[in-house]
Amino acid sequence: MKTTLVLTVAVLANSVSSVCLSKGMKDFPDGQLFSASGLLVMGKHVITDPWMIAGVMLLITFLAAYLTALSWADLSFVLPATAPGYIVTLLLSKFYLGESISPARWAGTVLIVLGTFLVARTYQPSSSTLATGKTGHEGFHETLAKPTTDALGDSR
C-alpha cells in the first residue's frame, strides 16, 4: 500500500515533470541551443520560467519518492512497477501537449515497457549489490537506477 502510493507519486511526478520541461522549452530559440552564451541563457531560463521551475520541482519530488521506494523495495520490483510511466507520458503528450502519436510510436512504447519488464527480471532481489547501490541512484528519470553503475562502483 505504502509502496503503491509512493510509486504512484513517483510515476506521476516524473511524467508531469517531463511535460512541464517540454512546455517550458518549446519556445526556446533553436539557435541559442548550441552557442556558448546559449548555456547561460538556458540556465537563466531554468530558474526563471514558471514551467521550468515546476518541472525541476517535480523532478526533485520524483527522485525523493523513487529513492524512498528503493530504500525498502528491490529494483527488480520498482523498475517494472514504474515502467508503465512511459505510457502515462505518451498519453499526456497526446492530450495535453497535443502531439500526434503514430501507431508505430504507440507500438514502440509498448515494446519498450515489455523490454523493461524483461530486463528487470534479471535483477536479483535483495542482492548485496542492489542494497549498497541505493545511495548512488541520483538521476533525473526512472532509467537511471542501474546495477551497471553499482557494479562499476564496486570494481574500483
Binding site: 533553436d30 541551443l33 540556465g43 512511459y86
Partner: protein, 121 residues
Amino acid sequence: MINFLLLSTVILAGAAGDVSVAHGMKRIGEVNRFSLIALVRLAVRIAKNKYIGLGIFWKAVAFFTFIALLARADLSWVAPATAISFVVETLAARYLLREHVSTTRWAGASIVCLGVALISL
C-alpha cells in the same frame, strides 16, 4: 541526426554521473547516523568529495542536454527514447565489465532496441 547525438549525450553523461556519484558515496561509506551534527558532517564530506562533484557535473550536462532535446523534439519521442539506456547498460555490463549477461536480459535489451527504432520511424 542531431537529436540522436543529443540523446547519446543524455544517456552517456547520465551514466557517467551515476558511476561517479555511486563511487563517491561508497568512499564515504554507509550512512547510519542521523543526528544533526552527523548529517552536517556528512554534507561537508559529500561537498568535498571530488567524485561527487564530478558526478554532479555530468548530471548537469545530462539535464541541460535533455532540455535542449525537448526544445527540438516531441516529448512522445524523447521520453521513451531514453529507455535506450537499458541497452547501453547491458552492452557495458558485457563488454566493459565483462559480466555474464543472461539470455533474458539480452532479450529485454533487444526488445527495448526494437521499440526505440519503432518510435523513431
